[in-house]
Protein backbone atom coordinates (compact mmCIF):
# COMPACT_ATOMS: atom_id res chain seq x y z
CA UNK A 1 0.00 0.00 0.00
CA UNK A 2 1.51 3.39 -0.96
CA UNK A 3 2.33 5.79 1.90
CA UNK A 4 -0.15 8.64 2.26
CA UNK A 5 1.37 12.11 1.81
CA UNK A 6 1.56 14.63 4.65
CA UNK A 7 -0.06 18.02 4.24
CA UNK A 8 2.19 21.07 4.46
CA UNK A 9 1.29 22.65 7.87
CA UNK A 10 2.19 26.17 6.69
CA UNK A 11 -0.40 25.97 3.91
CA UNK A 12 -2.98 23.89 5.76
CA UNK A 13 -4.16 26.81 7.92
CA UNK A 14 -7.50 27.99 6.50
CA UNK A 15 -6.63 31.66 6.11
CA UNK A 16 -3.13 30.97 4.75
CA UNK A 17 -4.62 28.52 2.24
CA UNK A 18 -7.23 31.10 1.18
CA UNK A 19 -4.50 33.73 0.76
CA UNK A 20 -2.30 31.53 -1.40
CA UNK A 21 -5.32 30.50 -3.52
CA UNK A 22 -6.22 34.14 -4.07
CA UNK A 23 -2.66 35.10 -4.96
CA UNK A 24 -2.22 32.26 -7.45
CA UNK A 25 -4.74 33.89 -9.81
CA UNK A 26 -3.39 37.44 -9.77
CA UNK A 27 -0.10 39.15 -10.52
CA UNK A 28 -0.01 40.85 -7.12
CA UNK A 29 -2.58 41.96 -4.58
CA UNK A 30 -2.89 44.76 -2.08
CA UNK A 31 -3.38 44.08 1.65
CA UNK A 32 -6.84 45.71 1.68
CA UNK A 33 -8.02 43.60 -1.27
CA UNK A 34 -6.90 40.41 0.49
CA UNK A 35 -8.67 41.58 3.65
CA UNK A 36 -11.94 42.22 1.78
CA UNK A 37 -11.81 38.84 0.00
CA UNK A 38 -11.04 36.83 3.12
CA UNK A 39 -13.12 38.87 5.59
CA UNK A 40 -10.22 38.71 8.03
CA UNK A 41 -9.09 41.28 10.60
CA UNK A 42 -5.97 43.39 9.99
CA UNK A 43 -4.06 41.72 12.82
CA UNK A 44 -4.81 38.14 11.86
CA UNK A 45 -4.23 38.81 8.15
CA UNK A 46 -0.89 40.50 8.86
CA UNK A 47 0.23 37.60 11.08
CA UNK A 48 -0.71 34.93 8.52
CA UNK A 49 0.90 36.84 5.66
CA UNK A 50 4.06 37.19 7.77
CA UNK A 51 4.13 33.40 8.23
CA UNK A 52 3.78 32.89 4.47
CA UNK A 53 6.53 35.44 3.88
CA UNK A 54 8.76 33.70 6.43
CA UNK A 55 8.24 30.41 4.59
CA UNK A 56 9.23 32.13 1.34
CA UNK A 57 5.80 31.59 -0.23
CA UNK A 58 4.93 35.26 -0.71
CA UNK A 59 7.02 38.35 -1.41
CA UNK A 60 6.10 41.78 -0.07
CA UNK A 61 6.56 45.16 -1.69
CA UNK A 62 5.77 48.41 0.08
CA UNK A 63 5.33 51.56 -1.94
CA UNK A 64 3.51 54.88 -2.11
CA UNK A 65 0.78 55.47 -4.69
CA UNK A 66 -0.53 59.03 -4.82
CA UNK A 67 1.12 59.63 -1.41
CA UNK A 68 -0.79 56.69 0.14
CA UNK A 69 1.14 53.67 1.45
CA UNK A 70 0.42 50.45 -0.38
CA UNK A 71 1.53 46.95 0.62
CA UNK A 72 1.54 44.50 -2.25
CA UNK A 73 1.85 40.73 -1.96
CA UNK A 74 3.01 38.48 -4.75
CA UNK A 75 3.21 34.71 -4.78
CA UNK A 76 6.73 33.36 -5.19
CA UNK A 77 7.75 30.35 -7.29
CA UNK A 78 8.26 28.40 -4.04
CA UNK A 79 4.72 29.31 -2.98
CA UNK A 80 3.30 28.17 -6.30
CA UNK A 81 5.19 24.90 -6.03
CA UNK A 82 4.08 24.36 -2.43
CA UNK A 83 0.42 25.01 -3.28
CA UNK A 84 0.58 22.60 -6.23
CA UNK A 85 2.11 19.91 -4.01
CA UNK A 86 -0.52 20.61 -1.33
CA UNK A 87 -3.39 20.20 -3.81
CA UNK A 88 -1.87 16.96 -5.17
CA UNK A 89 -1.46 15.60 -1.64
CA UNK A 90 -5.02 16.63 -0.77
CA UNK A 91 -6.39 14.86 -3.83
CA UNK A 92 -4.34 11.78 -3.04
CA UNK A 93 -5.63 11.72 0.54
CA UNK A 94 -9.20 12.14 -0.58
CA UNK A 95 -8.78 9.57 -3.31
CA UNK A 96 -12.12 8.40 -4.59
CA UNK A 97 -14.04 10.65 -2.21
CA UNK A 98 -13.64 13.65 -4.56
CA UNK A 99 -16.86 14.42 -6.35
CA UNK A 100 -19.06 12.57 -3.83
Amino acid sequence: MPELPELNPVIHGKLRLALLSLLVGVEEAEFTWLRSKTGSTDGNLGAQLAKLEEAGYVAVEKKFVQRKPQTLYRMTEAGRQALTEYVLALKQLLGGAIGD
Binding site: L17, V26, A29, T32, K37, L90
Partner: protein, 202 residues
Amino acid sequence: MTANAEELELKDRLSLIESMIAEGRRTTQSYGWTFVLWGVAYYVAIAWSSLCHYGLAWPITMISACVLMGLIVWLKQSKCGYKPETTKSRAIWATWISMAISMFVLLDAIGFSGRMTDWRIFAAVASTLIATANAASSMILKWKLQFACAVVWWVAAVVSCFGTVNQSSIAFLAAIFLCQIVFGIYLMIRESIARKQEATHA
Protein backbone atom coordinates in the same frame (compact mmCIF):
# COMPACT_ATOMS: atom_id res chain seq x y z
CA MET B 1 -10.96 13.22 14.79
CA THR B 2 -12.97 10.50 13.04
CA ALA B 3 -12.10 9.45 9.51
CA ASN B 4 -15.35 10.95 8.27
CA ALA B 5 -14.74 14.33 9.91
CA GLU B 6 -11.20 14.37 8.57
CA GLU B 7 -12.45 13.64 5.07
CA LEU B 8 -15.00 16.45 5.38
CA GLU B 9 -12.27 18.85 6.50
CA LEU B 10 -10.07 17.92 3.55
CA LYS B 11 -12.99 18.38 1.15
CA ASP B 12 -13.64 21.75 2.77
CA ARG B 13 -10.01 22.74 2.10
CA LEU B 14 -10.33 21.71 -1.54
CA SER B 15 -13.50 23.72 -2.08
CA LEU B 16 -11.86 26.69 -0.30
CA ILE B 17 -8.99 26.57 -2.81
CA GLU B 18 -11.40 26.42 -5.75
CA SER B 19 -13.60 29.26 -4.51
CA MET B 20 -10.64 31.53 -3.70
CA ILE B 21 -8.98 30.94 -7.06
CA ALA B 22 -12.30 31.81 -8.76
CA GLU B 23 -12.64 34.88 -6.53
CA GLY B 24 -9.15 36.09 -7.42
CA ARG B 25 -9.83 35.73 -11.12
CA ARG B 26 -13.26 37.31 -10.91
CA THR B 27 -12.11 40.81 -11.68
CA THR B 28 -14.66 42.00 -14.20
CA GLN B 29 -12.75 44.51 -16.25
CA SER B 30 -14.43 47.17 -18.38
CA TYR B 31 -13.15 47.10 -21.92
CA GLY B 32 -16.38 47.87 -23.84
CA TRP B 33 -16.22 51.64 -23.45
CA THR B 34 -12.67 51.73 -24.91
CA PHE B 35 -13.94 50.20 -28.18
CA VAL B 36 -16.74 52.78 -28.40
CA LEU B 37 -14.38 55.65 -27.50
CA TRP B 38 -11.86 54.69 -30.19
CA GLY B 39 -14.63 54.05 -32.73
CA VAL B 40 -15.98 57.56 -32.17
CA ALA B 41 -12.40 58.96 -32.30
CA TYR B 42 -11.81 57.29 -35.69
CA TYR B 43 -15.07 58.79 -37.03
CA VAL B 44 -14.14 62.26 -35.72
CA ALA B 45 -10.67 62.04 -37.30
CA ILE B 46 -12.07 60.82 -40.64
CA ALA B 47 -14.73 63.55 -40.72
CA TRP B 48 -12.27 66.26 -39.66
CA SER B 49 -9.55 65.26 -42.13
CA SER B 50 -11.89 64.77 -45.09
CA LEU B 51 -14.09 67.83 -44.56
CA CYS B 52 -11.35 70.34 -43.58
CA HIS B 53 -8.40 68.63 -45.32
CA TYR B 54 -6.39 69.28 -42.15
CA GLY B 55 -3.20 67.20 -42.01
CA LEU B 56 -2.98 67.14 -38.22
CA ALA B 57 -6.59 65.93 -37.75
CA TRP B 58 -5.54 62.32 -37.11
CA PRO B 59 -2.63 62.91 -34.70
CA ILE B 60 -4.63 65.51 -32.72
CA THR B 61 -7.72 63.28 -32.46
CA MET B 62 -5.67 60.21 -31.51
CA ILE B 63 -3.70 62.09 -28.81
CA SER B 64 -6.97 63.57 -27.45
CA ALA B 65 -8.53 60.07 -27.34
CA CYS B 66 -5.44 58.77 -25.49
CA VAL B 67 -5.67 61.58 -22.91
CA LEU B 68 -9.42 61.05 -22.51
CA MET B 69 -8.94 57.29 -22.07
CA GLY B 70 -6.21 57.85 -19.45
CA LEU B 71 -8.50 60.26 -17.60
CA ILE B 72 -11.44 57.81 -17.62
CA VAL B 73 -9.19 54.92 -16.44
CA TRP B 74 -7.87 57.11 -13.61
CA LEU B 75 -11.40 58.18 -12.59
CA LYS B 76 -12.65 54.58 -12.69
CA GLN B 77 -9.73 53.42 -10.53
CA SER B 78 -10.33 56.22 -8.01
CA LYS B 79 -14.04 55.36 -7.84
CA CYS B 80 -13.86 51.56 -7.78
CA GLY B 81 -10.72 51.23 -5.67
CA TYR B 82 -7.84 48.81 -6.07
CA LYS B 83 -8.30 45.77 -8.31
CA PRO B 84 -5.45 43.30 -8.77
CA GLU B 85 -4.18 42.64 -12.25
CA THR B 86 -4.38 39.14 -13.66
CA THR B 87 -1.86 37.77 -16.15
CA LYS B 88 -4.62 37.69 -18.76
CA SER B 89 -5.60 41.34 -18.31
CA ARG B 90 -1.94 42.41 -18.47
CA ALA B 91 -1.49 40.42 -21.70
CA ILE B 92 -4.53 42.12 -23.25
CA TRP B 93 -3.46 45.62 -22.26
CA ALA B 94 0.06 44.90 -23.55
CA THR B 95 -1.34 43.80 -26.92
CA TRP B 96 -3.48 46.90 -27.38
CA ILE B 97 -0.87 49.37 -26.13
CA SER B 98 1.74 47.85 -28.47
CA MET B 99 -0.71 48.16 -31.36
CA ALA B 100 -1.51 51.77 -30.47
CA ILE B 101 2.18 52.73 -30.30
CA SER B 102 2.92 50.98 -33.62
CA MET B 103 -0.02 52.68 -35.31
CA PHE B 104 0.89 56.09 -33.92
CA VAL B 105 4.56 55.84 -34.92
CA LEU B 106 4.01 54.29 -38.35
CA LEU B 107 1.07 56.38 -39.54
CA ASP B 108 2.55 59.64 -38.26
CA ALA B 109 5.87 58.82 -39.91
CA ILE B 110 4.16 58.08 -43.23
CA GLY B 111 2.03 61.22 -42.90
CA PHE B 112 4.81 63.64 -41.96
CA SER B 113 7.22 62.21 -44.55
CA GLY B 114 4.71 63.16 -47.23
CA ARG B 115 4.49 59.61 -48.51
CA MET B 116 0.84 59.17 -47.61
CA THR B 117 -0.20 59.60 -51.22
CA ASP B 118 -3.21 57.33 -51.14
CA TRP B 119 -5.97 57.07 -48.49
CA ARG B 120 -6.18 53.34 -49.25
CA ILE B 121 -2.64 52.73 -47.93
CA PHE B 122 -3.59 54.42 -44.66
CA ALA B 123 -6.83 52.37 -44.40
CA ALA B 124 -5.04 49.10 -45.19
CA VAL B 125 -2.25 49.68 -42.64
CA ALA B 126 -4.62 50.86 -39.90
CA SER B 127 -7.07 47.99 -40.53
CA THR B 128 -4.28 45.38 -40.43
CA LEU B 129 -2.87 46.72 -37.16
CA ILE B 130 -6.31 46.80 -35.50
CA ALA B 131 -7.02 43.29 -36.85
CA THR B 132 -3.75 42.01 -35.35
CA ALA B 133 -4.61 43.36 -31.89
CA ASN B 134 -8.14 41.94 -32.08
CA ALA B 135 -6.83 38.54 -33.19
CA ALA B 136 -4.17 38.39 -30.43
CA SER B 137 -6.72 39.49 -27.83
CA SER B 138 -9.26 36.89 -29.04
CA MET B 139 -6.63 34.15 -28.79
CA ILE B 140 -5.72 35.16 -25.23
CA LEU B 141 -9.40 35.20 -24.24
CA LYS B 142 -10.31 32.20 -26.46
CA TRP B 143 -13.17 34.31 -27.79
CA LYS B 144 -14.45 33.59 -31.31
CA LEU B 145 -16.56 36.75 -31.54
CA GLN B 146 -13.52 38.98 -31.20
CA PHE B 147 -11.70 36.89 -33.78
CA ALA B 148 -14.65 37.60 -36.11
CA CYS B 149 -13.91 41.31 -35.56
CA ALA B 150 -10.29 40.66 -36.58
CA VAL B 151 -11.55 38.99 -39.78
CA VAL B 152 -13.76 42.01 -40.56
CA TRP B 153 -10.70 44.29 -40.19
CA TRP B 154 -8.58 42.02 -42.41
CA VAL B 155 -11.34 42.09 -45.06
CA ALA B 156 -11.35 45.91 -44.84
CA ALA B 157 -7.56 45.88 -45.35
CA VAL B 158 -7.82 43.66 -48.44
CA VAL B 159 -10.67 45.79 -49.88
CA SER B 160 -8.45 48.86 -49.38
CA CYS B 161 -5.65 47.19 -51.34
CA PHE B 162 -7.77 46.14 -54.32
CA GLY B 163 -10.82 48.46 -54.29
CA THR B 164 -11.46 52.04 -55.27
CA VAL B 165 -11.14 54.91 -52.78
CA ASN B 166 -14.91 54.83 -52.23
CA GLN B 167 -14.95 51.08 -51.64
CA SER B 168 -12.00 51.41 -49.26
CA SER B 169 -13.74 54.19 -47.31
CA ILE B 170 -17.00 52.22 -47.05
CA ALA B 171 -15.14 49.10 -45.87
CA PHE B 172 -13.17 51.10 -43.27
CA LEU B 173 -16.27 52.93 -41.97
CA ALA B 174 -18.25 49.67 -41.82
CA ALA B 175 -15.45 47.94 -39.91
CA ILE B 176 -15.37 50.80 -37.39
CA PHE B 177 -19.13 50.59 -36.96
CA LEU B 178 -19.26 46.80 -36.53
CA CYS B 179 -16.03 46.13 -34.64
CA GLN B 180 -15.79 49.28 -32.51
CA ILE B 181 -19.25 50.71 -31.94
CA VAL B 182 -21.51 47.63 -32.12
CA PHE B 183 -18.93 45.28 -30.52
CA GLY B 184 -18.15 47.89 -27.83
CA ILE B 185 -21.83 48.38 -26.92
CA TYR B 186 -22.32 44.59 -26.84
CA LEU B 187 -19.32 44.29 -24.49
CA MET B 188 -20.65 47.05 -22.24
CA ILE B 189 -24.00 45.23 -21.93
CA ARG B 190 -22.20 41.95 -21.11
CA GLU B 191 -20.00 43.66 -18.51
CA SER B 192 -23.01 45.31 -16.91
CA ILE B 193 -24.77 41.91 -16.61
CA ALA B 194 -21.58 40.35 -15.15
CA ARG B 195 -21.25 43.16 -12.58
CA LYS B 196 -24.88 42.68 -11.49
CA GLN B 197 -24.28 38.94 -11.09
CA GLU B 198 -21.09 39.69 -9.10
CA ALA B 199 -23.02 42.02 -6.81
CA THR B 200 -25.66 39.32 -6.27
CA HIS B 201 -22.98 36.73 -5.37
CA ALA B 202 -21.17 39.11 -2.99
